[in-house]
Symmetry: C2
Subunit: 202 residues, 2 copies
Amino acid sequence: MSEASPTLNFGTMTEVFQFLMEIDKLKSVQRRTKVLGTQRQENSAEHSWHFAVAAMTLAPYAPKDVDIQKVIRMALLHDIVEIDAGDVLVYDLAARAAVHDQEVLAAKRLFGMLPAPLNQQFLDLWNEYEEGETPEACFALVIDRILPVVMNLNNQGQSWVENNIRLEQVLARNAFIGDINPELWQHVRGHLDNAHAQGWLK
Amino acid sequence: MSEASPTLNFGTMTEVFQFLMEIDKLKSVQRRTKVLGTQRQENSAEHSWHFAVAAMTLAPYAPKDVDIQKVIRMALLHDIVEIDAGDVLVYDLAARAAVHDQEVLAAKRLFGMLPAPLNQQFLDLWNEYEEGETPEACFALVIDRILPVVMNLNNQGQSWVENNIRLEQVLARNAFIGDINPELWQHVRGHLDNAHAQGWLK
């Protein structure tokens, strides 16, 4: 949104539409993964859509106590903080730690644009995802991690190759998937060994 | 996904991951609306994310009988058929009628990639949205229509100007919003008159 745009009056919905125009910026936050079969990096908005649909389709494979609707809402909100803080590679542990404080401020600023009680509801949902302790947050994290892995397995290891990622890194960051969905991890584990053998992972 | 990609085995989840890789193509379907402040046309995947978050934020303004979780799921699935059928401008009524049969075939092919009962659940949800009769489908349609209108109001009428859209067309296609949310339509109506006066709408 141009800084010069005047605030349009939508009555009680004015703040909601200001928020919706502000988060349009997530469409310009680039990730490392490329859209399959293209040379274009995916952005965090389209990734969030992919993640939310993945939650819908993986619902039958979720632990029984998981509220999938909540996982979908987490997927839709989880990356909005990147509008202020940017996207950081999941394997860059130092940068991920450094960016955390910026993300907390971003969540306050962005979700704070909304009227009550939406502002607190959205912030609570984002915090729950970040803390990663509830069944919904754990299952959401599985999906957020597995999606770029499967995209890499279907794209000659594109983002692994471009970022010099090693098999041990992928195993260390994703082995928790085995605790939540052993069948899924068993298959992924085999495909990762194959990716390593093919040179897609160092 | 490259046609040459072998099918990766994910056990009972194999079909789900094939579907998730296939729908990655929605990230390459271009709409007429541009991402605010850029020269890039938004794609239907990032639009679907925006639509779903809009449903979350507009929940307090929905008619009381609307199940917002269902509206969110409709938002996430509603444009997937465009992978086969393409995006058609909402104001091009002849093209919209012509593309309907292709969209029905696309829904069968794409949702049909999923195992039961997901395949039928997704198809039913898409059909319900298309038919536009339930409270959820009506509210979803309001959001799908209002979002590009508000983006245009914040972007000097970009897609209206580029496609020679007239005020009467926007009024004719969107006046139903007044039946579902009179307050919203009252504000939009005023902004549309202003857009016409500024020459953003013919």
